[in-house]
């Protein structure tokens, strides 16, 4: 497939100039979009070896216009994934390393006094970008984490009383480390709920790790994978088009009903103390649409919904204390739930 990937960017960049033609033939456009998405997936898999499920999920969120929280132990390539994505994506990319002394204004921006013009000038913070990497987000205290609340939901930042829109598309990719608890601040529920997906990175398979080590040992920077050879496949407007196409994918009533039933089941499930809100249903449907696009399908299947249900739900529910004491994880309980909620009926 990699033989004909170089053509992909040109096909889509040439698509928007002729919207009338594209609209006339949505099937062709949809096909192109899904080819582009698959090319992007291949490119990312070159950089990040052995994490294809996580790459799929990140692309799901990218196409669905949601934010992603990536969790994993150190050294699995969380930051590498985001850097590779930024590399393949032609838009702006900014990175904030969250530290305990980071202030909200360091994230959003602030007003500075300009001596020459004797006026206050707004200085925009790093959030004014397309792709924002919030590295180790749980190392900053709650007030700094809260600086992201507005921009994540409303895509705008209020500075000095003025609401400034951030450039679209806008996506936050946050990483956090699940094992270190000292000096970290757990994310508040409101913040967690704004992330469309929470991804868990696990160790790669043996064969994949072998090939990764081989590749890293060959690279010039001895201890990390290089992302420089990756090609830029996607511009900001291409991504907007992709999102538009994904949101236009047809969705059967039954599938919609399935997504809503999944989210509602978490609220009355005996093993869960706290269920997921309506944002979860919305995220399920959007995730299902973008997975369908990634799959190359023309409509959404229940499988698409079920495939992203775990990532959508796992940070929106809270485990009952009894099960927590017994050592059950949220994923196990959600898996039980997925095993018992009936698939769509026709």
């Amino acid at each position: 497939m990699s033989e004909y990937t170089p053509e992909q960017p040109s096909t889509l960049t040439s698509a928007p100039p002729a919207p009338a033609q594209a609209a006339a033939n949505p099937a062709v456009q949809r096909q192109r979009a899904s080819q582009l998405a698959q090319a992007l997936r291949l490119e990312l898999q070159k950089a990040l070896i052995g994490q294809s499920a996580v790459i799929d999920d990140v692309l799901t969120a990218l196409i669905a216009g949601g934010h992603v929280l990536v969790e994993g132990v150190p050294g699995l390539g969380k930051t590498l994934l985001v850097r590779a994505l930024a590399r393949c994506f032609g838009g702006e990319f900014a990175r904030i390393q969250f530290t305990p002394d980071l202030m909200p204004s360091d994230v959003t921006g602030h007003a500075v006094y300009d001596l020459a013009s004797e006026q206050f000038k707004l200085r925009k913070g790093p959030v004014f970008t397309n792709l924002l990497l919030a590295d180790e987000i749980n190392r900053a205290p709650a007030k700094t984490q809260a600086a992201l609340l507005e921009v994540m939901q409303e895509r705008q930042v209020t500075l000095e009383g003025r609401a400034l829109a951030v450039p679209l598309p806008f996506m936050v990719l946050a990483t956090q480390n699940p094992i270190e608890q000292e000096g970290t601040y757990p994310l508040p529920e409101a913040e967690l709920d704004r992330f469309m997906l929470k991804l868990r990175m696990d160790y790669p398979e043996q064969a994949e790790e072998l090939s990764m080590v081989r590749q890293v040992a060959r690279s010039t920077r001895a201890d990390m994978l290089d992302v420089t050879p990756l090609r830029t496949l996607l511009q900001a407007k291409d991504l907007l088009t992709l999102q538009k196409i994904a949101s236009d994918l047809p969705l059967d009533e039954q599938v919609l009903d399935y997504a809503v039933r999944l989210a509602r089941a978490t609220r009355s499930w005996p093993g869960l103390a706290l269920g997921a809100g309506p944002r979860a249903s919305i995220a399920l449907v959007r995730g299902g649409r973008s997975r369908a696009l990634l799959r190359g399908g023309d409509f959404v299947l229940p499988d698409d919904i079920k495939g992203c249900a775990l990532a959508v739900l796992r940070h929106r529910v809270r485990l009952a204390p009894e099960l927590d004491i017994e050592g059950l994880s949220v994923d196990q309980v959600l898996q039980q739930l997925l095993d018992q909620v009936p698939a769509p009926r026709l």
């Binding site: 047809p250 059967d252 039954q254 599938v255 499930w269 005996p270 093993g271 023309d298 409509f299 959404v300 299947l301 229940p302 499988d303 079920k306 059950l328 039980q336 997925l338 095993d339 018992q340 909620v341 009936p342 698939a343 769509p344 009926r345 026709l346």
Partner: protein
Amino acid sequence: MRLTDASVAIRPRSAWEALDLGVLLARRHAGLLMASWALLTLPLFALLCLLLWEHPGWAIFAFWWLKPAYERLPLYILSHALFGDTPSLGQAFKALPGLLKPQLLASLTWRRLSPTRSFDLPVLQLEGLAGPARSQRLVVLGQRDAGGATWLTVVGMHLEMALWLGLISLFYLLLPQQIELDWSWQSLANAAAGEWLWLEHLSNLLYALLLIVWEPVYVACGFTLYLNRRTALEAWDIELVFRQLRQRLTGVAYALLLGFGLVLLQAPTAAMAAGASSCPLPQEDPHGPQAARLLKQPLSSQAARHSIEQLLDAPPFENRETVTLWRFGEAATAEDPSADSLKGLIEKFLKLAEFWKSLDAVALFFEALLWATLFALVALLVWRYRDWLATFTGRLGLPQRRAHLPPSQLFGLEVAPQSLPEDVAGEVERLWTEQPRAALGLLYRALLSRLLHDYRLPLKDSHTEAEVLRLVQGLDRHELSAFSQLLTRHWQNLAYGHRLPPEDLRHALCDDWRRLSAAGGRG
């Protein structure tokens, strides 16, 4: 048995002190006791192991059950050693057959689980009592030190367990590091029985070995408790003091006796003669109060006394009442069951049984009521926590035991074989032109039904179409999975994408279905 020969100081002790004495006694004769125990039990253990090699659990159980039989040997040794007459190993074993004979069956059956085993053993073995005499004796003995004896057994059980676990851990710790044993508990539990037999026999052996150390102590402690109780009951300590007094004073007493004799010889004889009539016999007094008087009068003294006695017998002076109550029966009556009393007893029992029979209906009613309450309570609890049960039993692996009943509905489709028409392919071809959705739905239903009932795929309500396909691929039937893929794709196109299937598909699908069902019918 001569108390003066006893090698322990005989005095009343508390139960705990007596137990302490027992430990000391066992320690003093440790070599003999342990050697005799080992010689007796280890061959027996080896024999049991050989006989029951396939069932190590039964072997150790039989060995454990026979414990009262072995305990007679240490008691024999201890009872002789107490009075300085320590038998040799050979003598002890020579005496063994005689020791085993009395009441062995009782010891090994209904008295096996008695918590005061070592305390009761001397009554049987040393006093040779049996039957009611034995139980009466035990009641007397058990009035004070039975608690101590019970505690001895309880502590002994725990001590055995602790020593056993300790020996096992020691054995495990002593394994050299080079022997890499990957002993995860699950593999231990799941391992085929044959592979671990030697390990179980090894742990059994450890138990037999620790008994060599503990059992003599146990028997000795029971024995000293028994001695202590008898000391208190029969005042052995006082007897001992008297004996010592006698030993010390024998010479003095003879001298005193001689002295007294000499003194008596000097006494005047007249004095001795005077004593003959010193105590006159009481004689009937003719004028005493008991004599009959006033004989010439209408009311003689005799008649008056008679009527007075009658009056005194009547109610104001005499109140007789009969009180019936339960008392602990005298053992003497039980010992002498004459024919009459036995008959009366049986009659009483019969009457009692009749009385109970009349109460049976009431009892039955209450029994039924109680059982019903219990069942209702359980049912209520299960109903109340049904959600929890449904959640947790899934994790316990219980559903695997439940017979897997194929659901009659899947994705809202009837998939029971009875609900399908005889000729599925023909029906599909008929429906295809006017109702394509119904036609494809019928075909998909038929496929699911085949998968469920003929291929026994564990399909659930929560399975999506793609998961069903994955399960089909697991069956490793090329033709079936190709057909399923084709059918599922078009079914999804129709159901979720609202796209009609192409016309030429009809024949392909129907032919495939006919071929598949023919192949399935042959298989």
